[in-house]
């Protein structure tokens, strides 16, 4: 038997009709789904690139100099002279003793302007 004929017989099929409208409907919905998927992947990639760039930019701002990270809030305490410090400790002791509420004392000390006291103390010294 002719081998060519034999392989054609193997592949013979009598089914080759398909509903065109259903096929087209499926085709376009598949195409749209793929487009959406592609769009999402591109969006995800852009977001990842943006986050990486932002991360790199933030990281590049970091420095080894510790003074940069010292909080400004600590500065008034640094300039406090010894007399003011003693005064504040005594005041704190007194307030805790009389009120029995350490949190209230802390809040009060927080609100206090020590700079004025320091200036007064310094004037006394002069």
């Amino acid at each position: 038997m002719n081998f060519e004929k034999h392989i054609k017989e193997i592949t013979y099929s009598n089914v080759n009709s398909l509903d065109e409208s259903i096929f087209l409907e499926k085709l376009h919905s598949k195409r749209r789904r793929r487009d959406i998927k592609k769009f999402r992947i591109l969006n995800g990639l852009s977001a990842a690139v943006f986050v990486s760039l932002l991360g790199w930019a933030s990281f590049s701002q970091l420095t080894d100099d510790p003074m940069i990270y010292v909080s400004n809030d600590l500065k008034p305490m640094e300039i406090m002279d010894i007399e003011t410090e003693i005064y504040v400790y005594e005041l704190a002791d007194y307030l805790v003793d009389t009120s029995d509420d350490i949190w209230e004392t802390l809040a009060f000390l927080d609100e206090m302007n020590f700079e004025t006291i320091a200036i007064k103390n310094n004037r006394g010294l002069e």
């Binding site: 081998f3 060519e4 392989i7 054609k8 193997i10 592949t11 013979y12 099929s13 009598n14 089914v15 080759n16 009709s17 398909l18 065109e20 096929f23 087209l24 499926k26 085709l27 598949k30 195409r31 793929r34």
Partner: protein, 172 residues
């Protein structure tokens, strides 16, 4: 009736219906090709859809350097090659299963014979595989095969002859 070229130009001009008309015109050939190739109605429909999805994108930039039919044949052949490659891995990983009888148009035995034939075809060198696919699944004359492959007619005949000889050795 409008020619393929006119329909493509209309599609490039923004008329989506022109693409649908083109699909309807070439669907029987493309679907028939993949039916012969896969023996599975669902897979054949999937492959035909994938080919036309590629066409949808490609036709927007189509420059009419070749006939649309030739271009479509090439796309079918490329798709069938990808399918063969995918199937090779599926077979290796034992993921392939016989399709359900409801989806096939032949008996189980025919199905396995067909599978065996395409497995053998998938192992042929690229040129021979393309020629034999066009000849068997699309029943194309050598003249058209030569045009699609960009070779002369005799070269296509020689490739086919070698392919059939190799298949005969494998399938005997």
């Amino acid at each position: 009736m409008k020619s393929d070229k006119e329909l493509i130009k209309e599609f490039q001009g923004g008329r989506e219906d022109a693409f649908n008309e083109l699909v309807k015109r070439h669907l029987p050939d493309t679907y028939g090709f993949f039916i012969k190739f896969t023996a599975n109605l669902v897979e054949a429909e999937d492959l035909a859809q994938d080919v036309f999805i590629r066409m949808y994108k490609a036709l927007k930039k189509f420059r009419f350097e070749s006939e649309f039919k030739t271009y479509l044949y090439r796309a079918n052949i490329n798709m069938s090659n990808s399918y063969l490659r995918r199937n090779k891995w599926r077979n290796l990983l034992h993921l392939d299963q016989a399709p359900e009888p409801a989806y096939t148009d032949t008996s189980q035995e025919d199905e396995w014979r067909r599978k065996e034939l395409w497995d053998a075809i998938s192992k042929l060198p690229s040129k021979q595989r393309k020629v034999v696919t066009m000849r068997i699944a699309q029943e194309m004359p050598y003249k058209d095969i030569a045009l699609v492959m960009g070779v002369n007619e005799n070269s296509a005949k020689v490739s086919y002859h070698h392919a059939v000889k190799s298949l005969k050795d494998v399938l005997k």
